[in-house]
């Protein structure tokens, strides 16, 4: 599968909400879309293109905005496909992919707590790696290593 094939399959359904399908080494391409189209993109990629397996959800902090990326795999094409969307830093949230791929659950929890990107309609958005009540988001560029943080950590179940 080539980026053109992905463009042909997704283009009519998404129109201008599909920003671009770029070539990306080692994968079938990278689909860049507007976040309003998130759920439609997930459904189209899952149902029409047959990428049934979501491997990874992650976030990148580009300071002025944040990027959410998804890696999906198709057993028929034996290829990966990358999906990516930008969200503004002061309003960072996107629709959850758990409705289409249940495997997104923990990946989104992790992205939420480390990169501070919210996931709408996530069934269980709570801390995963960090303790409850942890207010920092370590994978933001503004979080500096070597600078101490002060925090009172409460036990979760006592």
């Amino acid at each position: 599968m080539q980026p053109e094939d992905v463009q042909r399959a997704l283009g009519p359904r998404l129109g201008t909400r599909l920003s671009a399908v770029e070539a990306f080494p080692g994968t079938a391409g990278r689909v860049r879309f507007l976040r309003e189209a998130a759920l439609d993109v997930f459904r189209a990629v899952h149902d029409d293109l047959g990428f049934l397996h979501l491997s990874l959800v992650g976030g990148v902090d580009w300071v002025d905005h944040r990027e959410v990326f998804y890696v999906v795999w198709s057993d028929d094409a034996k290829q990966y496909l990358l999906l990516s969307t930008d969200v503004p830093a002061n309003d960072a949230h996107v629709e959850s992919a758990t409705a289409v791929w249940p495997s997104a659950n923990w990946h989104e929890r992790e992205t939420w707590e480390l990169v501070d990107i919210g996931f709408d309609h996530h069934p269980d958005l709570r801390h995963l790696l960090m303790p409850d009540g942890y207010v920092f988001h370590p994978l933001l560029r503004s979080f500096k290593l070597h600078e101490p943080e002060e925090l009172e950590v409460k036990s979760r179940h006592v």
């Binding site: 080494p25 080692g26 397996h53 491997s55 990874l56 057993d75 990966y80 370590p138």
Partner: protein, 381 residues
């Protein structure tokens, strides 16, 4: 009877590491589970942003402490794509050699821990003894037994010592005979079958929906192995079969791992033959000096690097002993990666715990989670 939540962990013989399995039980029945991880979170992805490309390798050994070389391989492939560097072919063969020996080390370690969970103590000692032979080989060419720091951006640190390939062949022949012993000790025992058959069943459709990969997926009959489906390094040039089973249960996972051990031996024999016949360089030429020497950042060459290597994002995926691992390395120019993201296979396999634990008995938890092969280091990173 009333239901209640109990904690199995963070200190529990079943957990093999520091994590907590919260279980809602009704008498002896499991009604719900909620794995709780993060006790071993060291912020490896964050620390990577503050390190040179080669310095991240030391963190990779500590990501999964029984499969360090596989994680080094994963990261190196991603970093090389981000930096647009091509390693020499011999280095690729040495990486495959390392990864396959690591797979044997990891699976034998899993075997030892898993049978211990079932209460079979002797096979545990067999497994630990045989893993030591693999560690001896690692020590002879990397100098370390657990944290190897062997691979480098652009190749590997050093070539094999003289006589290594003959010694490695001897070890492989010995191990092949031992794998038969393993099967006799476990599959020949009624107790093993009573504790493992039809337990922790996770069918192929659920595996795919919940992102489960590796031996767990292959035990459900899905023939999926990145070494075959999307060959990286030189896996396209070696001959091997993908191990599958059809039980989708604990026994199936055991069978898959045992077959993978034999296939690893098959791959390694071909790789050793190739290495004997093709001497050559093991590092790419014309790298900036500090990419070859991780501890000496050189200011001027840092600037050179910015000019030489265009920005880029590297994505790599390998079939790690536990399943499918991925790395996403963002290079924005400069000496440090801008962002590194890793996908740990066990992270996903553990996230699906509710699917394969609910409905079984409390006493079934150790064998089921034993068959998952949890390594907390790579779940928490």
């Amino acid at each position: 009877m009333s239901e209640m939540w109990i904690n199995m962990g963070p200190q529990h013989p079943m957990t093999h590491g520091l994590w907590n399995l919260r279980v809602r039980i009704d008498g002896e029945m499991i009604r719900d589970v909620d794995p709780e991880v993060g006790y071993l979170h060291r912020g490896i992805e964050k620390i990577s942003e503050d390190r040179h490309y080669n310095e991240v390798i030391t963190l990779m050994d500590r990501t999964c402490y029984v499969a360090g070389l596989a994680w080094e391989h994963l990261y190196i492939l991603g970093a090389e794509k981000a930096l647009h560097i091509e390693p020499p072919e011999r280095a690729e063969y040495l990486r495959v050699l390392s990864e396959e020996f690591q797979r044997i080390g990891s699976h034998v370690m899993w075997f030892a821990a898993f049978v211990q969970d079932l209460g079979l103590t002797s096979p545990f000692l067999y497994g630990m003894r045989d893993r030591d032979l693999v560690l001896d080989l690692f020590q002879s060419y990397t100098g370390a037994r657990l944290t190897y720091e062997y691979m480098r951006v652009g190749g590997v640190r050093n070539d094999l010592p003289p006589g290594f390939t003959d010694q490695a062949r001897k070890v492989l022949d010995w191990l092949l005979a031992r794998f038969q012993d393993y099967d006799q000790l476990t599959l020949g025992s009624d107790i093993f079958h009573k504790r493992c058959d039809n337990l922790g069943v996770l069918k192929a459709r659920d595996c795919v929906a919940h992102g489960v990969t590796g031996p767990m997926l292959r035990s459900a009959g899905v023939k999926r192995d990145l070494r075959k489906d999307r060959p990286y390094s030189v896996y396209g040039q070696v001959d091997f079969d993908v191990a599958v089973a059809d039980g989708a249960d604990v026994t199936g996972r055991y069978l898959v791992r045992m077959e993978e051990l034999r296939q690893s031996v098959r791959i390694l024999k071909q790789v050793l033959d190739w290495l004997d016949r093709h001497p050559g360089p093991v590092m790419a030429e014309q790298l900036p000096r500090w990419l070859g020497a991780p501890y000496a950042p050189q200011g001027r060459e840092g600037y050179l690097l910015k000019r030489q290597y265009p920005k880029g994002v590297g994505f790599s995926a390998i079939e790690e002993p536990h399943g499918e691992a991925q790395a996403y390395v963002v290079n924005e120019g400069g000496e440090h990666p801008y962002r590194v993201k890793f996908r740990s296979p066990i992270f996903a396999n553990l996230a699906a715990a509710r699917q394969y634990l609910v409905g079984y008995h409390v006493a079934d938890i150790p064998p089921i989670l034993g068959s998952v092969d949890v390594c907390v280091g790579e779940v928490d990173r």
